[in-house]
Structures are given as structure tokens and as C-alpha cells.
């Protein structure tokens, strides 16, 4: 079990998926669950008169509608205002302790994530707990080339495959393979077998565990805090073509100030070609590892994590990059962040 420590911000679950992928069906089913009783749901629809919020409105959970345009088109005012409104509501009414944001089928979740992480007040009050992307096993193959569809999968922490009972086996396999290619770090599950309550319980594990399992063996903590002549960094390639996935393993605790500078510079300069950076790192002076999670130009605030019964994990970052030389990223990391560098 992994859980964020000392983070009192209101968790936000972003539910995204292409047009007709089954988001509303999934959430309607979830409304009956006990986990939903203390949940505020914001529904984003392209139409001025919403349909989904009527489908979703019930007596137990609060549902609000972000109508009249896609979230991604209304970033400057709409979403910010709605989220500030949610926080104002949370201050006066203590009857919800999580928020679900259902995005319209054409929304780019990265734009919404950026709205939250770039607004100092929202970022201080809201924590993006999980990005859930629904992918339709029957029709997804027709929209695989759509940029919105691809971005929704790239941003996912977990992918739920819908309509698995209606899909031909070869179609299901093709959709599964496509999702795995676009976002190899996100677990894939049939939506019909997934309860919302389970997603809430497992949010931290879903975000962190899979990358931990995939990173190979090694020491979770460095053996000593002493300087090393060079950072022991190992890179290996996982995919033959398309976006390149590689893992950078670090065996020494790192200086946060240098790591933050390097990540900030890399995302600022090359964020358009960085599909994902995820991993655990041990920082100097920290009593537990931090979860690093970046999508494109956006870095989530590194979460301080506590792991139970899992002391053997390595310190590592997994990169999914499109057209960036992995070898040079590793060299740059070693030169800028690596252990053994007393000062820059």
C-alpha cells in the first residue's frame, strides 16, 4: 500500500475519455456505491443545456454542470471559477471530501491539469489524485488517430476499457495493444469489473506501483550519503519503435534543489516531446521517497510517499519520450543532478 503523507488537499479524480467512450455510464453506475456519498461531481459538457448532469443527478452526491463549451476551451475563466467555487463550498459545507471532474469527450486533460497546477491557490488546495481514462473497445480503433484521444490516454494513471462484452476479441486485443503502446505505465482494466470505490482506495497504488514493479531490482535507499565519483545511472530501452521508454536508475539520494532545476529546465525546453516522466526518488534529508510525476510541460508537485513493507525498491525515473535522445537525457541528468557533485 502506498499513500501520500501529510497532504491535506482535496483530492480530485479526473474522468476522461473520447466521445461515447462510456464515462457517464461508468459514473452512473458508481453513483450507487457507498464511496460516492461524500463526493462532489463536476460534469463538463459541450452543450449549453447539459444532459449528463440530469442522468447523473441524484440525492446522495452533489452534481454540478460545467456547460456551454468544452473545459479545455474555457480554461481561463470557466474551470478556474468552478474550482474556486468548489473550494468555497468545501469551506462552508463539510459534506464532501473528494471531487470528480468528468471532462467532455473532446477535452484535453492536460489543459485541465495545467489549470490546477499553475494556479497557486488551486494547487495549494486541490490534489489530482487520479486521472482515469475510459477507452471504448468497440469504437476506439476508429478514433485512435484523434489527437484528443491520444492525449487522454497519455495523461492516464489508469485506463478502463469499456464495452468489453460487445467487442470482438481481435478488436479488444488491438485496443489493448494500442493503449499499452501509447501509455505503458498505466494499468488497464475492464470498466465493468471496476468499482469507483476501488479506484479511490487504490489511487496512490495505481499511480505508483506499476512503475515500481517495472523498474527492476535495486536498492530503494542509497547505501550512504557520501559522495560518489559519478552517479550510478543505468539506462535501458524497453520499446523498439515509436515513443521511447527508458528507465534511469539512481542509487544515491539526490539534492532537491538540483533535481527541481533540471526537471524544470527539461520540461520547459522539451515538454512537447515528453509524454511522461514517472518514478520514485530518494532525496537528501527526506525520510521517505517522493513520487515524481510529469506530463508534457506539467510537473505535479512531488508527493512524499510512505510505503508499507516494500523497502527494496530502487530509486528511479521512467521516461516516455517522443523523438528525444534517451542517452543524452541520462548524460544531462548525470551532469546536472547526479550524486557526488558538491556544487555546480
Amino acid at each position: 500500500m502506498i499513500r501520500p503523507v501529510g497532504d491535506l488537499r482535496l483530492p480530485v479524480f479526473i474522468v476522461t475519455g473520447y466521445l461515447g467512450s462510456g464515462k457517464t455510464t461508468f459514473l452512473r453506475r458508481a453513483l450507487d456505491e457507498a464511496a460516492f456519498t461524500r463526493t462532489l461531481m463536476l460534469v463538463n459538457e459541450a452543450a449549453a443545456l447539459g444532459v449528463d448532469d440530469h442522468l447523473l443527478r441524484n440525492d446522495t452526491g452533489a452534481v454540478a454542470l460545467l456547460a456551454n463549451g468544452c473545459l479545455c476551451c474555457r480554461i481561463d475563466r470557466g474551470v478556474k471559477e468552478e474550482l474556486h467555487g468548489v473550494l468555497a463550498l468545501h469551506r462552508t459545507r463539510k459534506d464532501f471530501d473528494r471531487v470528480i471532474l468528468e471532462l467532455s469527450g473532446l477535452a484535453d486533460p492536460l489543459a485541465v491539469i495545467a489549470t490546477i497546477t499553475s494556479d497557486p491557490y488551486l494547487d495549494g488546495q486541490l490534489r489530482i489524485a487520479l486521472v482515469v481514462t475510459l477507452v471504448d473497445a468497440v469504437h476506439a480503433l476508429e478514433s485512435l488517430d484523434a489527437a484528443e484521444h491520444r492525449r487522454q490516454i497519455e495523461a492516464a494513471d489508469v485506463v478502463l476499457i469499456t464495452k468489453t462484452d460487445m467487442a470482438a476479441p481481435n478488436s479488444l486485443a488491438a485496443v489493448d495493444a494500442h493503449v499499452a503502446r501509447v501509455q505503458p505505465l498505466a494499468p488497464r482494466r475492464p470498466a465493468v469489473e471496476t468499482q469507483f470505490g476501488w479506484l479511490v482506495e487504490q489511487a496512490a497504488d495505481l499511480r505508483a506501483d506499476r512503475i515500481a514493479r517495472g523498474a527492476g531490482a535495486g536498492r530503494w535507499r542509497g547505501e550512504s550519503l557520501g559522495p560518489a565519483p559519478r552517479p550510478p545511472v543505468v539506462a535501458f530501452s524497453c520499446l523498439p519503435a515509436g515513443p521511447e521508454t527508458f528507465c534511469l536508475r539512481v542509487e544515491q539520494p539526490l539534492e532537491w534543489s538540483r533535481l527541481a532545476l533540471w526537471l524544470s529546465l527539461l520540461l520547459h525546453r522539451h515538454g512537447d516531446r515528453i509524454l511522461r516522466i514517472k518514478g520514485f526518488l530518494t532525496l537528501k534529508g527526506a525520510d521517505a521517497p517522493v513520487l515524481i510525476n510529469c506530463v508534457r510541460h506539467i510537473a505535479y508537485f512531488p508527493e512524499h510517499m510512505e510505503r508499507e513493507g516494500d523497502a527494496e525498491l530502487p530509486s528511479f525515473l521512467v521516461f516516455i519520450v517522443d523523438g528525444l535522445p534517451g542517452e543524452r537525457i541520462v548524460r544531462s541528468f548525470a551532469a546536472c543532478v547526479g550524486e557526488g557533485t558538491a556544487a555546480w
Binding site: W256, L261, H268, R269, A299, W344
Partner: protein, 99 residues
């Protein structure tokens, strides 16, 4: 709260954060070395802003790291590229010189 990369938001955990001024000075030293590759001097101002200066006397005052990167590009005429061979060599040489 500030930008995620600001030293005041060290994710060390409860009670383990370094003093903001100490973390800021560490970041200032590291930042100065990066910006030196572009010929830009950078220094902290009151723990809240960064002052960027070029050799011709041009200066900018910014707050966050993304603004620093934009400012360096504006003053020097080219963005700092962390994957550029010359930049990596500059950082490697600087690192070796401080050992």
C-alpha cells in the same frame, strides 16, 4: 505555495524541510552555473525573485524557474537546452572543477 520547483516546497516530509534560505542559496548556486553557460549572471533577491543580468548591462527580475528560462533566452538570444552537448560538457566540467 509558490511554483512546484521553488525550494520553499521541498518535499522532504514532516519537519524535515531545510531552512528556506539555505535551500534557496543552494538553488541559487546551481542556477548560476546553468545560466553561466548562456553568459547570464543570476542572483537571488530577498528569497523571492531572481535577478538576471547579461554582460551588456541588460537585466530582468523574475520569480519562477519557467520565467528564469524565458528570461535567459530573451537576454542571451538563445534558450538553454539541457540536452545540448556543449551544455552537458559545461555542466560536467563545472562539476569536475568543484570536486
Amino acid at each position: 505555495m509558490g511554483h512546484w520547483s521553488s525550494p520553499g516546497r521541498h518535499p522532504a516530509g514532516r519537519g524535515r524541510d531545510p531552512l528556506p534560505a539555505v535551500a534557496r542559496m543552494a538553488q541559487a548556486r546551481a542556477l548560476a552555473m546553468i545560466c553561466a553557460h548562456a553568459g547570464i549572471a543570476v542572483r537571488d533577491w530577498m528569497l523571492t525573485s531572481w535577478i538576471l543580468e547579461d554582460r551588456a548591462g541588460g537585466a530582468l527580475i523574475v520569480e519562477t524557474l519557467p520565467e528564469v528560462w524565458d528570461g535567459v533566452a530573451r537576454l542571451s538570444g538563445r534558450p538553454v537546452d539541457p540536452l545540448d552537448d556543449a551544455f552537458i560538457a559545461h555542466m560536467e566540467a563545472g562539476t569536475a572543477g568543484t570536486r
